[in-house]
Every structure is written in C-alpha cells, then in structure tokens.
Subunit: 233 residues, 4 copies
Amino acid sequence: MSKPVCAIIGIGPGNGLSFAKKFSLEGYSVALCSRNLERLEEYADRIDNAYAFEYDVTDVSAADTVFSQIRKNLGPVNTLIYNAGAGDFSTFDDSTLKSFQRAWEVNAGGLFTSVKAVLADIRSCKGNIVVIGATASLRGGINTVPFASAKSAQRSLTQSLSKSLGPEGVHVSYVIVDGMINLESTRRNMPGKPDEYFMSPDDIADSVYFLTEQKESAWTFELDLRPFGEKWS
Amino acid sequence: MSKPVCAIIGIGPGNGLSFAKKFSLEGYSVALCSRNLERLEEYADRIDNAYAFEYDVTDVSAADTVFSQIRKNLGPVNTLIYNAGAGDFSTFDDSTLKSFQRAWEVNAGGLFTSVKAVLADIRSCKGNIVVIGATASLRGGINTVPFASAKSAQRSLTQSLSKSLGPEGVHVSYVIVDGMINLESTRRNMPGKPDEYFMSPDDIADSVYFLTEQKESAWTFELDLRPFGEKWS
Amino acid sequence: MSKPVCAIIGIGPGNGLSFAKKFSLEGYSVALCSRNLERLEEYADRIDNAYAFEYDVTDVSAADTVFSQIRKNLGPVNTLIYNAGAGDFSTFDDSTLKSFQRAWEVNAGGLFTSVKAVLADIRSCKGNIVVIGATASLRGGINTVPFASAKSAQRSLTQSLSKSLGPEGVHVSYVIVDGMINLESTRRNMPGKPDEYFMSPDDIADSVYFLTEQKESAWTFELDLRPFGEKWS
Amino acid sequence: MSKPVCAIIGIGPGNGLSFAKKFSLEGYSVALCSRNLERLEEYADRIDNAYAFEYDVTDVSAADTVFSQIRKNLGPVNTLIYNAGAGDFSTFDDSTLKSFQRAWEVNAGGLFTSVKAVLADIRSCKGNIVVIGATASLRGGINTVPFASAKSAQRSLTQSLSKSLGPEGVHVSYVIVDGMINLESTRRNMPGKPDEYFMSPDDIADSVYFLTEQKESAWTFELDLRPFGEKWS
C-alpha cells in the first residue's frame, strides 16, 4: 500500500463525502470513519480506494482500535480530517446538561481522543490535521448554546495542537465554515433561500485539500469559507 | 433577610476571598461555595454576613441542593460569581482525556449546571452573573491544553447567556484575568518576579463589583484585567 | 490650582458633556476641548470647574498651543479623554478619499497629535488616557467604510500606547460603545425605537471614570458597553 | 488581448516578484505597478507577459492614469493584488505624525484610491481583490505604531469591501503574513535565524493564487500564513 492515507472522521452526505471523493481523486487511500457502517460501506463502494471503518468518537475505547485497523489495512495515517460536528442548536433554557456535554464530547473530546490515537502516525509522516469548525467556534449565540461552546473548545484545542506540532513539521489547521451546506435535506427545509445562500461541499473540499498541500514555509492555521451571497459580520 | 445575596462559586485565598470581602462590605449576604467546607467556615468566621456552603461543581446532583439551601438561609440569589477555574496547564502530550474532560467539567459544565439551578432567582431579581475567565479563554497555547479549551467553552457559554438574558434585565459579564495573582504561594514559586508582575485580588474584586453596579443602559460584557507591568499581546 | 486636570477632546451634548459633568463632580478641573467655542462656553458656564478651549484635532499646529493653555490655566493634564469621533457612515461607493481621510484625521491622526502634545504631562502624573471607540473599531461593515477604518486605526494606536505606557504607570484604555446614545436628536430620528435601545451618556461616563480609578495591579485595556436591550453579535 | 489581467501594486524582490511569476505562469498578463520603474522593467524582462507601470499609491492623481494605461495595453483588470505595505516600525516616542500618516497613506489610503480607480473593471469581470496584510493588522504593538495602525485601517476597509462586493460576485480577501520573508537582505540582517524561521515568497504566492481560484460557493475572506517553525500567539 504505497498511497498516503487520509482518515476522515464524521461522514455524511455533505462535507464528509466530498472530502472523501477529493482525497481519493488526489491519490489517497481514504478511511471513512463514522458510526453508520452501512452508509459508509455504500460510500466506499462508490469511491475508489475508500474503505469503511465504524467509529463512534464518543466511545473512548474505540479510538485505538479503529486507527490500528486503518494502519493495518491501509498504512499509517498521513492526514486526519476531523469533521465530526453534530451539534445541538438550542437556547440555554432548551438545553440540558446532557446535550451540552454531548456536543463537547463529539466536537472536542472526540478530537482529543482521535488525535491521541493517531498522532504517532502523523508525526512519523510529518502529515496534516484539518479540523472543520464553524462560525459558532468564534462566539456564542442565543440559539447555539451546546454547539457554540463545544466548537470554541474544539478551536482552542486545535490552536494548541497547531502551535506545538508545527515546529515538528505537522500542519494543523482549522476551517471556519460560515454557511449552510447545499444538501437535498437542507434545501427542502429552506425552500425560500436562493442558490447563492448555500455552500457546495465539493468547493469546501477544495480548500481543505489545499491546506494539506501548502508548503511548510507558509502554513495557514485558520481560514473562513462562506458563500458569496452571504451577509456576514 | 433583606440584604441582597451574592453566591460565589470557587473560593480560595485569592480572588474568591477578595470577592467575598468586597460584596460583604457593600452590603450583601455572601454565600461561599466550594468543596473545602473547613476552609469556607474559617473564611465565613472572618467575614461579616458570609456563610459556608459545601459545593462541588462537578457533582451535577449537588447544584439544586446548594442553591435551595442558600435561598432558604439567605434568600434568593441576586448575584452569581462563577470563580471555579481549576485548570490543568499541560501540553497535549502530557494531557489525558481525563484531565481534558475534568477541566471542562469545572469551567464549563459546572457553570452550566450552576446557572440552571440559580437562574430563576436571578431572573426574579434582575440580577447579575459574573464569570471569571483568563487569557486562555481567548486562545489555546502549547502549555495550556485542558485549561484553555475549557475556558473557551466557558466564555462561549457566558456570551450566549449575556445575549439571551440581557433583554430580560439580567447582566452577564466575563472578566479576562491576564496575570498572576499575588498570593504567598505564587510568590514563593516565582521568587524572581517583581511586585508589578502580580495582581492584587482586592483590585480584581473592585472591577467585579463595578460590573454588578453598571446601569442597564451601558452594560459591559467583557473586560480584561492585567498588572501594569505586564507585557501583553 | 490643586485639582487634578481632565482634558476632554470632543464635546457634544452626549458623551462629552456627561464626561465633563462626571469628572467635575469627582473633583477634577475639566478642560472642554472642541471646535465649537460658543457651545463649549455655554457648557463651561453650567459645570463647576469646567473651562472652554477651542481645539480642532485636525489642525496639527493647534495641539501644542491648546495643551500649553490648559497647563498654564489649570495645571498639567492628568487624564485625557479622547472622544473626538465624528465619522462618515457610507458605503465604499458613496465614500470619497476626502471623507475616508478626514475620518482617519479625526479619529487616529488627532489622537496621535493630541497624545504627542500632552504625554509629558500625563507621564509626570502617572495619569490616564481613555479613548472612546465603537463596535466599528472591531470590524468593517458595508455602510461604515470611512468610520470603521478610522476607528480600527485608532484602536490599534491605543493598544500600542497601552502596552508601552503601562509599565511607566500610565493607564491607557479603550471603550467600545456599542449602541445609540440617548439624545433628543437621535430619538427624533428613530421614533420607533424603545428606550432600552438607547444608552444614557451619564451611564457611559460612570464606566469611563471607573477606568481612571482602577488600581494599577488590575488595569483594563478594553471594555464594551451596550444597552441591555441590544441584540449583539 | 484574451489573457486575464492581474495588477500587482507594490513590487519588490520578495512577495511582489513571486506573485508576478505565479500569475504569469497561470496564464495572466501581469501589470507590475510600483514607484521604481527601472526595477519594474528589469522584472518585466524576466517574466513572460509582465509589463511595468510606474505608480506611486500616495499620488492620488496617478490612480486613474495607471489603470487606464493597463486597460488600454492589457485589457480590463480581473485581479488586483494590493501588496504596497511599506511600514514604519517605531515606538510612539520615535514616530512622527508624518510617518504615522504616511504609513496610512500607503496601506489604507492607497488601497482606497486604487480600488476606486479599478473597481469598474473588476466588477465587470466578477474578479478578485487580494490585499496583503500582516499580523500587525490585528493588533498594535510597542514597536509597530505607524505600521500596525495603518494595517488595521487597511484590514477594516478590506472587510467592508468583501462584505459589499461579495454578493456582486467580486471576491475580496485578506492575507495575514505572519513571518519574515526569505530574502538575501533579511537573511543578512538576521544571520542567527534558522531557515525554518523564514517564509518563501513563492509559497505565499501559491496561497494568494489559490484564493483567486476558489469557487464562489466557498470563498475565504481571511487566512494567515506563517513558517512552520514560528512560535505564534
């Protein structure tokens, strides 16, 4: 197995799938990692050199196992894309400690655990870690209590990783996705919104891939992505 | 009991003690809340109208009990000062998921639980919540992995609370403490540092109290505090 | 003249007037400095220990003269409040280089010139500089091109001053005013807005004064102020 | 003239030259614009499809002329790269109003004037504006008074442009260069610094070019670039 290995944590029909297609196209073996094995296997059938690995990032004991399997089957991981980001968008009154804690476990705890399990591989390859964040990573809003707090915790951890791993030759970066992804389900829920309001996951994948290709004399830690029609602050 | 009630979560010989003295002096009944009941009782003996309440913010079931006790003994809480902030200052390699999670539980989870338990009181008084943060709330560093990530999660939650509770007349603010507190123990560990490098907890308490006195037409969400001799970025 | 001297640059019926009343009340001699001498004299008549000094901050040659007059008449300046902030709120298309430059001259150039002229006084008193900013200091918007860019330049300069003068014992701070001031003229222009949308300049003045009273072990560089009813991001 | 046109304002042996080579290689006609015509002509001789245009960004009357010449000779400008950034790195005490103002004129005033003169072209092409910033764009330091203030003003303006022009299909972005450029002169002045401390301008050019290639559903406003060995905060 001489292809470099990209492990993508968190795979749905949007960004995760597009990341997989992009890295496959660029010559990687791609490990698709998420809870829904059936869906992963369907994606793996459609994408060259993509393989399904069941992984629940909140199951602390699972991390070493899944990365061992990936290493054994595909080789050491060169690039980790952390795309797990399920989030509860609720007000404080509507949030529970359980939902607040679960958002943290998926976004921050799971990143911590996953990096602990795969970092030796990435260090040996002088590879990449790309974490997919959101505008909520930057500030708490009224309706984003669990999600925003968890994303802030995730961004802080990613920043620490970037500062400590950079000098070792490992590039760690953070992508602020500031917009709605163009998915059938999203469009159905927001029928009045025009095309320019939505982000194509393939276009996001291009920037994620670009980050992993930057030369080490000029590395980006953070970039934002938004659709051109977005009103932003 | 006609005095307003200030509950301070997290009481040590530095900020917590100074907050207690300041609010006592300004006419509050003060509920001293932390894990070390013996120490709290010693402080309560020395401060007028201060009372000890054992409270471990990571014990989820304890929050309702402690605030019921405070309400019963002192009246409804008008002002909550969340000063629990024990943190692990470690690199990623030296951190464990346990220390990473515990830092979150103390700084973010405990704030969530405490506010859930006391918010009805504060809403009825149109009172105050002041959360004590740190420079690490703003960014992750190499040596602050558990602490910084937890403080970012805390700051995001506090910002959400401020935005949602402000229009109800509840003032929520966040204090970025950017410096070392002038304590015997700190000075012993840093014998070469001059006086101007350290912050007096009484001076911090003045700003915390001021935040609770601001008129509602001009409320602060966030302020930073640092000693005049500090080099900062 | 043994009273400490507070010079306020930029005096209108809102913040400037309230700052003057507050510092007068707290025992300062107050130098009222702006272009409109007639209005200043009217204010000076109504406020104890307040004196009018004509000063156009964009007239570079005027700075030394006005601060010499203040020094001669009232004594060395202890506290400078830079409140000059006229701004053009225009889109890029509607802005001209002239309006873009003028906004910079009032907000940033005038601050530079004024501090150059008065710093020796403030250094000798270990005094205070408070600069009045706005949300636009933090980011450029579609409709705030000249104003926001000028305010960003002003904030950066104030931050530099704070970092360099702090260790000398001069406290430099920046106030982010995030809201509309409650003035007859403003209310007339926005008849549909409720009271809670507006900021009382007297309440802003309390925070400005508080900044000048902070003890040097715990100085604030920046704080935000907004009315409790404000929706903010 | 069927090649798209890239105008680069501010050309030296570092970033400017690398941007020119990159856009030439990618099929652009490149307009090299700066004060030093002799140097520009030497560069133009070495780069395919590159042409020299004398332009002093602080000469307000020059902007319309130079962009007319470019339009006439090469066609309408599709992509503007604003790289003019000479800056005075001085303390407040060592700065003069003249140096403070000049830094603003080069970084902010010149950007304003240049965009005014070329925007009709860029709008008609739905093209790109990339502005080259620095860490100093984000905060004022003790030793960066004129430069940092000017860069903050520049960043604010660029943000305003991005928000207003995005919905028209014009992509405006800002690059935070956080490091020293690897030039003979720089290396000579910092003989003790290792290679990993320096940024290759060709690597910076790759990211600048990438920004202009992003699809409109996922545009970046701001990204940072730094060498992997950099300690950053």
